[in-house]
């Protein structure tokens, strides 16, 4: 237990906990909501939490001048934007075919 309380004293732990909580909130959003767009929003929140993790480790890690964490985060932002675009295009296309964006109603392959 002492290592746990000692862990809380460092600023890095604070950022990592915030990132973990945000990740869990994003995951809950992706699993709990009906609408397809909210699932995509949940995924974006998860990616953002991972970015926060990367930047926090870059800042408090051993070699910040190597810029590894920052580069990884920048590429992650770019890839997340691309994935959001394609994902939302897919949702719009599904809406055109099935006239609904609720994931529970898209069950034509059921049974």
């Amino acid at each position: 237990m002492t290592s746990m309380t000692m862990g809380l004293a460092t600023p890095l732990a604070g950022y990592l906990l915030v990132a973990a909580l945000l990740f869990a909130i994003g995951l809950a959003g992706a699993l709990v909501r009906r609408n397809a767009i909210l699932v995509l929003i949940g995924i974006e929140l998860m990616l953002n939490a991972a970015n926060l993790n990367l930047i926090a480790f870059w800042r408090f890690g051993p070699h910040p001048e190597a810029l590894t964490g920052m580069m990884f985060a920048i590429f992650s932002i770019a890839v997340a934007a691309a994935e959001a675009a394609v994902g939302l295009g897919l949702v719009i296309s599904i809406y055109r075919h099935t006239n609904t964006a609720e994931l529970d109603n898209i069950d034509r392959m059921k049974g």
Binding site: M4, M6, T10, P11, L12, A13, G14, L16, L17, V18, A20, L22, F23, A24, I25, L27, A28, G29, L31, R33, N35, I37, L38, I41, G42, L45, N48, N51, L52, I55, W58, R59, F60, G61, P62, P64, L67, M70, M71, A73, I74, F75, I77, A78, V79, A80, A81, A82, E83, A85, V86, L88, G89, V91, I92, S93, A101, E102, L103, D104
Partner: protein, 166 residues
């Protein structure tokens, strides 16, 4: 840890929670924008200036607008009859709580082993530019190809299909 960190963390988490809990989709999209802004401010507090401004430019300036356009194009503004949470919401919540428990335990148990440093050499945009074309040129080129493919793919997927002559 400074009070500013607590304020920004509270703002970000409040935005995230509001996104998941709000019934109206457009309100949820605006709440996630608040979460993105809070994260950008956290990046700025961590001395990652470029990442913070890129976050505002890309996420708030493009992804949030994309989400809002998609909500409008799929008529998401009308509330569904059966409610906004799916039938299996409890399982999802338990899974998310489990994931947070594991991550939190990992953070608290092991963080004392990482060397902490509080002074950092100033990172200029010039360093980032040099790194992008020096050590990270391969990811840069691949991301360029990926973005091109994503643009073309998104347009093809969302395009109106031509009416076939009957």
């Amino acid at each position: 840890m400074s009070p500013i960190f607590y304020l920004l963390a509270a703002l970000t988490l409040a935005g995230g929670l509001a996104t998941v809990l709000l019934k109206h989709l457009v309100h949820a999209a605006l709440a996630v924008t608040v979460a993105f802004a809070g994260l950008a401010l956290l990046f700025l507090q961590l001395d990652a200036q470029f990442a913070g401004f890129a976050q505002i430019l890309v996420y708030i300036g493009a992804v949030a607008i994309l989400i809002v356009f998609a909500i409008l194009l799929t008529h998401g503004a009308d509330l569904p009859k059966e409610g906004v949470f799916s039938k299996t919401w409890l399982v999802g919540l338990i899974i998310a709580a489990g994931v947070f428990a594991v991550l939190g335990w990992a953070v608290l148990e092991s963080v004392s082993a990482i060397p902490q440093q509080n002074t950092m050499p100033a990172v200029t945009v010039r360093d980032i530019g040099n790194a992008l074309l020096d050590r990270y040129v391969l990811p840069l080129e691949i991301v360029a190809l990926l973005l091109t493919a994503a643009t073309i793919g998104a347009v093809i997927v969302a395009m109106h299909e031509k009416e076939r002559p009957k």
